[in-house]
Symmetry: C2
Subunit: 137 residues, 2 copies
C-alpha cells in the first residue's frame, strides 16, 4: 500500500468519521458526509459553525479522520491524525460550497452558520486483515 | 428517545467505533466488531492485549464509543463518552470468550494476547435528523 493508494481508498468512501478532544479531555466521535475536497494531505468538510465539533476544534486542533470499509471478507480502515482548522473566510467557503447546501444553510454561501473544516494529516495508519502499515504524510 | 431506546439501537449495530487519546494528545479512532456484552452502562469488547488501543487506554482511560446507522432517509448516531478499563483477569476473559475466538487467539481463552475492554458510559449524545439529545447515564 502506497500513500497514493490510501488517498484513493479514502476518496471512494461515502462516510467519514471525525474525532476531536473535548474540554474535559474526552475523545468525541461523529460520522460525517464524505469530504468535499481532498488535496495533498488536506481534507475539507462542510459543517455548522454552531456545532460542538467546531467549538472543540477551536479549543484543541488535534484531530483524527477515519475511513473504513467492511466487506464480506476483508476489513480495511485508515486513521489519519493531524490538525483541524475552522475556516470561516469567504474564499474557502465559496470553494467548498455546493448548490444543494442551501437546504442546510438558508442564507446561502455567506450564511454565518456555514463554515469549512480543513484537516491537515500528519500521520496515517492503514489496517487490513489484521496488519497495520504506518505512514508519515 | 429514552435511554433504553439508545441501548436498543446500539445492540442492533454490527460495527462499533472506539476513540482513545494517544500519548501526544491526539484522538485516535478505529472500527470494532459489535460489543460482546452490554449490561447497564457497561459495554464489553474483546481485543488484542498487544494492540495500540490497549496501550493508549492503559495510559489514558478517557474514551468514546460510537454507533451509527445511515439509512436512505435518516441518519442516526450515538456517541457515549466514559472510561475504558483493560481487563486481563481470567473471570472476565472467560465470560466474554466465544468459541470462534480461537481463530484469533491460538492459545485459547487463557492466551495472554486476548483481553477484554470494559467501557463504562457516563454521557451520551443521540443525533437524528439534525437534532441532538443528551443523556447522563
Amino acid at each position: 500500500m502506497k500513500k497514493e493508494q490510501i488517498y484513493e481508498f479514502i476518496s471512494k468512501q461515502k462516510t467519514a468519521f471525525l474525532a476531536s478532544v473535548n474540554e474535559e479531555g474526552y475523545p468525541v466521535l461523529r460520522a460525517m458526509l464524505a469530504p468535499r475536497k481532498i488535496c495533498g494531505n488536506e481534507i475539507y468538510f462542510s459543517t455548522n459553525t454552531s456545532s460542538k465539533k467546531v467549538e472543540q476544534y477551536r479549543q484543541n486542533e488535534k484531530a483524527c479522520v477515519y475511513f473504513y470499509k467492511r466487506g464480506k471478507i476483508r476489513y480495511q480502515g485508515v486513521a489519519i491524525t493531524g490538525e483541524m482548522q475552522v475556516c470561516t473566510d469567504q474564499a474557502t467557503k465559496d470553494e467548498i460550497w455546493r448548490t444543494g447546501d442551501r437546504l442546510f444553510y438558508k442564507k446561502g454561501v455567506t450564511d454565518p452558520d456555514y463554515c469549512v473544516l480543513k484537516f491537515t494529516g500528519k500521520h496515517a495508519e492503514y489496517y487490513c486483515d489484521f496488519k497495520i502499515e504506518t505512514f508519515e504524510l
